[in-house]
Symmetry: C3
């Protein structure tokens, strides 16, 4: 079992020790379960009473938590994040695959494979594909001709990358995600839909993470672009020619229609849908299940289907919630007025 | 062609014969198509007239159908289910794969494979994986290190099980489903999202069925749990640290956000979404496309986005449906009142 | 670099030349970027001013665009479609795979593979499968026993076709789509859900295109049918026993519940959900995110959850948008009336 001093843990997670830095710690645990030789964390000040009864030997807290534990502690920029880094220090991630190219992987002779690349069993790597150094392609992935994967990427099993896509560095793609499928474009003509060739591509920049079974369509012409730092949850759909700005996040099952441009630092909730050909400004926030049918200003906060500014949506929601009573009040007014009027006519 | 007596069929489906038990039957067919040598079923009493003109030699009915057919019949606990069991008696399922381990499957030496296990072509089975007896892993599945699959499981092609997951007995997983992908967790810090390590796992208990292209994320810490008997339809998303109680069912494209706890015998409709960190009580029913944003009591029936108790939701819906007329009535009232008031002022 | 005369391009895209047919063109480009040796297109007359400043050597326009460019031009039935055909003339699609059967594909001896079929690496083709001539099965696809794929089909990587499905000619199936997974059918009995055997199949007719990670369930009994010319976008879900009529299109993440019958030339928006066992008439149009809970007449245009006729839905929406003000007006009326009444009582 690994043992580290509090000082070492603080250094690992970018925090500062308060109290005995030479304290020896042999593991991490949640606050209610931690033993005297373990370190825990406290992110929410309301759990302070639990800390007071905890057996933990040390605790990681946020700088702004406003508490001063009686046991030795580490102040970290983000206590929960720091705790998980400490977890990894004690429990380093297992290696998912032996390094190197598995003998059952089928790799075209013209592919260019960087140093220290891992390619798992039953993968197919097409002609002209380039894979940057240290990248790991887990079993059963299929990367078609002339696509490029940057360095330090991690493709989980059964990922599909179609031909001619470009993927940056440190990109993580989870099982079953599809990059570069044809955009959904058809020209209606004489009662049938004729396929519009989808001859564009997909560009995914550095530090993007793409969830399981996500689909990102290639552009009709040009590029579908996922900018640096974007995080997409499982089962998200990105249509052709969409642009997703830097550090934007989308929760599961959101769907973005064709040619929509999404700004930076946008937050899109689960099951949100947007129409095509609109812009969503930087820093906008769209609540879960919203339907966005028109332009969104920077920093706008929207909610609902159709999506409205969140304060307005909540006011409408409050009235809607009492609609049966409102209808009764109108009926009562009508009766009262009728009585008044008929009284006048007497 | 197989031939069975009515008695034999009744025994196979757990029903009781009324009439000639030695009657020979050589197949099953729908009521309008059945020949004299075939057996049909009648689940809905309103189709009784069709039965009277049917050529079927026998019929399977529910005990509570309240009818007494003129032809020999079997009373079954569930007529439709019984009929399908009879169908399988006459049409036993074809074997999807030759038993045994296919020579192209890649299986780590440290994996423990039970008796009578089938592993199809192009599968990858990682280090320390355990697969229980009689389980069938169809082609192109990938099971990463140290995961455990119980006995009598059926994994259809291209299923992905990430490292360290535990799957019970008699679990069925359809094509392309992903078990144990990373939870969607990021710590925002200095304008970027930093990945929170997802070091937990997924536990799937006995008799669970998981639809095609479903995604079930591993816990951040601890376990995402799918309890015994749960049935998930295609394209469902289960986020990290979710708990789904025994015998709960979810229709297609439903999505459950992180850390939400769902009780037993809950029914969740298609495209439903829930927020994270809530509890949904035992026996609750959530209608399709609902958006659940707060705690749900046991046996509550909810509908709508936001989800409301179903009777209330229907009343609101009824008023909403007549909103344009309600607005006109308010306008009429305003005019009438203005007339009254101005009349007073004259 | 390929060079074609304007006449040759017109012939290729089915248009007619106006102006110098012998003009030599060496490429295609968007209107703002085109050089004198390139051809561009103009589909929307409002971009005519851009055309006037464009350096393009020639332009493809619609017959009904109502403009007469000063440079040589081709009148095409659909300018954008024609432009993309011209693009393909200059940039013929790269071959995704070497023709023939890859040595790592596992093909049952009893499978019948047509002439000129391509089967990629790590595919599995089960017993009794038939694949028609010229079809291409990209790497890591799995086609189980007795399924039939027609001629000239294209299955992208990691597609799964379960046993006994029938797929027509010229069908395109994108990565990760699943054809023939079990329908979601369970008989509740004694507190558990018992699997209803799904012994039917899926029939996909000619010229269908199926998006990435789509799921189409097999029928309980009989067939789930996708008729000729249907186009399904990514992540669509089709439940058991559904029938989708000719040339119907569905946008991404739509979900159709069991046994629903959809007519011809229906348009279904993204994230739409329908209940089961209803009919949707020919030519109906369902706007994105709608929830369809009852029969839809031919050519009906619906919107909303629950879905209503679109004009009605918009009127309701307009009133909803002003609900807080409507509630205030009702309150004002109540006060005014109270004042009136109390005045009377003075």
């Amino acid at each position: 079992m690994a043992v580290y001093t509090l000082e070492k843990i603080a250094s690992h997670i970018g925090g500062t020790v308060h109290g005995e830095g030479s304290l020896k710690i042999d593991g991490v645990a949640e606050i209610a379960l931690a033993a005297a030789s373990q370190i825990t964390f406290l992110a929410n000040p309301k759990y302070k009473p639990i800390l007071e009864t905890s057996s933990a030997g040390a605790v990681i807290i946020d700088g702004n938590a406003g508490i001063e534990p009686e046991i030795p502690y580490i102040v970290a920029p983000n206590a929960y994040f720091g705790f998980l880094q400490a977890f990894l220090l004690f429990n380093p991630p297992q290696r998912l695959l032996e390094p190197g190219i598995h003998e059952t992987a089928v790799i075209d002779d013209s592919a260019v494979i960087g140093k220290n690349v891992t390619i798992g069993a039953n993968c197919y790597i097409g002609a002209g594909v380039k894979i940057g150094e240290n990248s790991r392609i887990l079993p059963n992935c299929v990367i078609l001709n002339n696509s490029e994967i940057g360095s330090d990427c991690l493709l989980y099993p059964s990922v599909g990358v179609r031909e001619g896509c470009r993927i940056g560095k440190r990109v993580i793609i989870h099982n079953g995600a599809v990059i570069g499928s044809d955009g959904f474009g058809f020209a209606p003509w004489q009662g049938r839909f004729h396929k519009i060739p989808q001859v564009g591509t997909v560009v995914i920049e550095d530090d993007v993470e793409i969830g399981a079974n996500v689909t990102i369509d290639r552009a009709t012409l040009g590029e579908t672009v996922i900018k640096a730092g974007v995080k997409l949850d499982n089962l998200v759909h990105i249509a052709h020619n969409v642009m997703v700005g830097e550090h934007t996040v989308m929760a599961a099952q959101a769907g973005i229609s064709g040619s929509t441009k999404i700004g930076k630092h946008v937050m899109i909730g689960g099951q949100v849908g947007t129409v095509g050909h609109i812009s969503i400004g930087d820093g906008a926030q769209i609540a879960a299940q919203s339907g966005v049918a028109k332009e969104v200003e920077p920093k706008e906060q929207l909610f609902g289907a159709p999506a409205r500014p969140i304060m307005r949506a909540k006011r409408i929601e409050a009235v809607t919630n009492n609609l049966p009573e409102l209808a009764k009040r109108v009926k009562k007014l009508e009766k009262a007025l009728e009585k008044l009027t008929s009284g006048e006519n007497e």
